[in-house]
């Protein structure tokens, strides 16, 4: 159990205890202390429960296992194990360039709170579509993949700066940083998950300890 989940469990326990007292003895609220206790039990603690519970669920939604729990994401999960350095998702995952337990979230959401919320709202829609309407066969991003999600880690990294392909022309680096040229431009890093190419690749098996 993570720290925040433990906190939530404690808040819920205290709230339940207080609410049981209030339900059994509502006349207790005639006294000033009872009024204060009612305010804590019927407003403050439940509000705190909602706030903490939302944080717990948002944290959980960043987990790789959470994303891959939908059948429609099965192939994307499989793409993390492709045995080929050309596959971006695989090379990042297998070499710990992204945290293994947050592999999807690290590359697939913007790093602002607003972006995070938008992603969650889209996620709600995805769940709805998955259960009610049926997910489309081919999954697509809503908008072209943003360079900033790559540059968040790679910008100013030595390997990135010294790579001749990134600086072979005066304009290349500037274009990438300004978002005029995509990192996934054809001929550059153009294989992200490579699901269409699964028939021609091998898969890496993580050695068990």
């Amino acid at each position: 159990m993570q720290g925040i989940e433990f906190t939530l469990a404690i808040i819920i326990t205290i709230t339940v205890a207080l609410l049981i007292v209030l339900a059994l003895r509502p006349e207790f609220t005639r006294e000033p202390q009872g009024k204060a206790l009612a305010f804590v039990g019927l407003f403050l603690l439940p509000a705190l429960t909602l706030w903490t519970g939302t944080s717990v669920h948002i944290e959980r939604s960043k987990k790789t296992e959470f994303c891959l729990s939908c059948h429609v994401m099965e192939d994307h999960g499989k793409s993390l194990y492709v045995d080929d350095n050309e596959f971006l998702a695989a090379i990042h995952y297998q070499n710990n360039m992204v945290p293994a337990d947050k592999a999807c979230f690290t590359c697939h959401t913007s790093y602002t709170m607003y972006g995070d919320l938008t992603a969650k709202l889209r996620g709600m829609r995805h769940v709805f579509v998955n259960y009610i309407g049926g997910a489309p066969e081919e999954l697509e991003l809503y908008t072209p993949y943003q360079n900033r999600e790559c540059l968040h880690c790679h910008e100013n990294a030595r390997g990135f700066l010294e790579d001749s392909a990134h600086s072979e022309e005066d304009t290349t680096m500037a274009s990438m940083l300004a978002g005029r040229m995509s990192c996934m431009e054809l001929g550059c890093h153009d294989v992200a998950h490579g699901i269409d190419e699964f028939e021609d690749v091998d898969f890496w098996e993580r050695p068990r300890p």
Binding site: E5, L8, I12, T15, V16, L19, I20, L22, A23, P26, E27, F28, T29, R30, A38, G41, L42, F43, P46, A47, T49, L50, G53, T54, V56, H57, R60, S61, K63, E65, F66, S69, C70, G123, M124, H126, V127, N130, Y131
Partner: protein, 68 residues
């Protein structure tokens, strides 16, 4: 203490039941790690807790303390 319950106290009791039901929803949503857990959290737990809080607040404003 007089055990006759006033209208406000009755409303407080009803609010506690709503919030307790909501908390059950929140607790249930913590037992699995799939997207549906968030739906249960927000759609059942969150909704009932907000309803309970609102009912309590509204009762404080609208109901007097006279015994029913």
């Amino acid at each position: 203490m007089n055990r006759q319950i006033s209208k406000l106290e009755n409303r407080i009791r009803q609010s506690t039941f709503l919030i307790l039901a909501g908390l059950l929803g929140v607790i249930a949503s913590l037992f699995w790690h799939q997207p549906t857990a968030f739906l249960v959290f927000a759609g059942v737990g969150g909704l009932l807790i907000v309803a309970g809080i609102s009912y309590y607040m509204l009762s404080l404003i609208t109901v007097g303390r006279h015994p029913s």
